[in-house]
């Protein structure tokens, strides 16, 4: 495999990593395009939708290369990876790294996983804070924080077992709702405020915002795909909570 092919392969990794970390379509296309030009491509044609990346590069000696990448995971958000990849692309545009260095950098960014404790603290803070924001009291916030811990645990251990994000969110919201309702039998809490606080953790805020933005700035196909996925996702969460409340008869 010659250098250009290997370079393009790394660029596909960069694009894929950006997409699964929650970057917008425009950003992915521009990043790949700019890096391609920095590495000597005369023309780059990049097509990105939420489930596929297709890139064709034309080089000054007439060589044309095309690679595609199928994206199966969706909906994650990792700002650190987006920031690091952005910094990497800026570096490469100023002074291109060798393909080996590029590969090492991409692997480093990909393997820099999320610190679970940080995520846990964030979830507790977000759920507790937003519960009070929507009108709950301190007890509600504590309950929401406890359920947030359960949600985090589910995201870590239940998610890999589920077929896709929508199904996982259905289960997750159902179980979270059950926990909240069962707790409400024993403690004087406002079930609705706690549920709102925990729903905010599960709502696909980032994919939805990106989808709306994409539809309105011209990436209509990707935008619509993500939008439909986000609506299904939100519907699954709604169903999960409604089911749990209906079963326990809290309403």
């Amino acid at each position: 495999m010659n250098t250009e092919n290997r370079m393009l392969h790394q660029l596909m990794h960069v694009g894929e990593l950006l997409l699964i970390s929650g970057a917008e379509i425009r950003r992915v296309e521009e990043t790949i395009s700019r890096m391609g030009k920095a590495y000597g491509a005369k023309e780059t044609d990049v097509f990105v939708i939420t489930s596929s990346i297709v890139v064709t590069m034309t080089f000054p000696d007439g060589e044309m290369l095309t690679q595609t990448r199928r994206i199966r995971t969706s909906g994650g958000t990792d700002f650190r990876k987006i920031e690091d990849l952005n910094a990497l692309s800026r570096r490469c545009c100023e002074e291109p790294l060798t393909v080996e260095e590029l590969r090492a950098e991409v692997n480093r960014i990909r393997d820099g996983g999320q610190n679970s404790f940080y995520l846990l603290c964030g979830s507790i803070l977000a759920a507790g804070g937003l519960t009070v924001f929507f009108g709950g009291n301190v007890t509600d916030a504590l309950m929401a924080a406890i359920v947030a811990v359960c949600i985090c645990a589910m995201q870590k251990w239940l998610a890999p077992l589920c077929m896709n994000t929508v199904i996982f969110n259905l289960f997750c919201s159902f179980l979270a709702g059950l926990i909240i309702c069962v707790l409400s039998w024993f403690l004087p809490v406002h079930v609705d405020k706690i549920m709102i606080g925990d729903i905010m953790l599960l709502i696909p805020g980032v994919p939805f915002t990106n989808a709306v933005r994409n539809v309105l700035i011209g990436d209509t196909i990707s935008g619509l795909m993500r939008l439909v996925e986000s609506i299904l996702w939100a519907g699954a969460i709604a169903c999960g909570f409604v089911l749990s409340v209906w079963i326990t008869g809290v309403w």
Partner: protein
């Protein structure tokens, strides 16, 4: 500002901070992003209190969010989307969504419709605000670049 508003302001900050951590933002960006969330919410609250209209309040608040996000992105050399999203967190209508849903399931259709229309106002305000301001900023940036190119070629 009365006590309720102060509590909401502080928890808007905390909620945005929490989400910044959930999205694995670097700690050095967290404080400014969460502060943006707090300011955005303050703008929304004041506008909503004075005009009573949710759409225009969220519109202006999301204008602010995009401006704030883009400005900080330039200063700190990081993608704007990160700051914009965290700043928008307190504006997300979780409450309206939940009450619309719960009333619909209990067959209180009239109440559900009220919350539903509230939800649409929030969502539209956010969406239109983000897109308008992004389009405007992009236009200004392109204009600035064009003018700069012209003046550079004159020299």
């Amino acid at each position: 500002m009365d006590e309720l508003a102060i509590i909401k302001t502080v928890t808007a900050f905390l909620g945005s901070l929490g989400f910044g951590m959930v999205f694995n933002m670097r700690p050095r960006h967290l404080f400014l992003a969460a502060a943006g969330g707090m300011f955005g919410w303050i703008i929304f609250y004041n506008l909503e209190a004075s005009t009573g209209d949710i759409f225009s309040a969220t519109l202006c608040a999301s204008f602010f969010s995009v401006l704030y996000g883009e400005l900080l992105a330039r200063i700190r050399h990081c993608p704007a989307n990160l700051y914009v999203i965290i700043t928008l967190i307190p504006l997300i209508p979780g409450g309206s969504l939940y009450y619309m849903m719960s009333n619909a399931v209990q067959k209180h259709w009239a109440v559900s419709r009220i919350y539903g229309s509230e939800l649409i106002m929030y969502a539209l305000g956010l969406a239109v605000g983000i897109c308008l301001m992004s389009a405007l900023l992009d236009f200004l940036y392109q204009l600035f670049r064009r003018v700069k190119k012209l003046s550079d070629s004159r020299k």
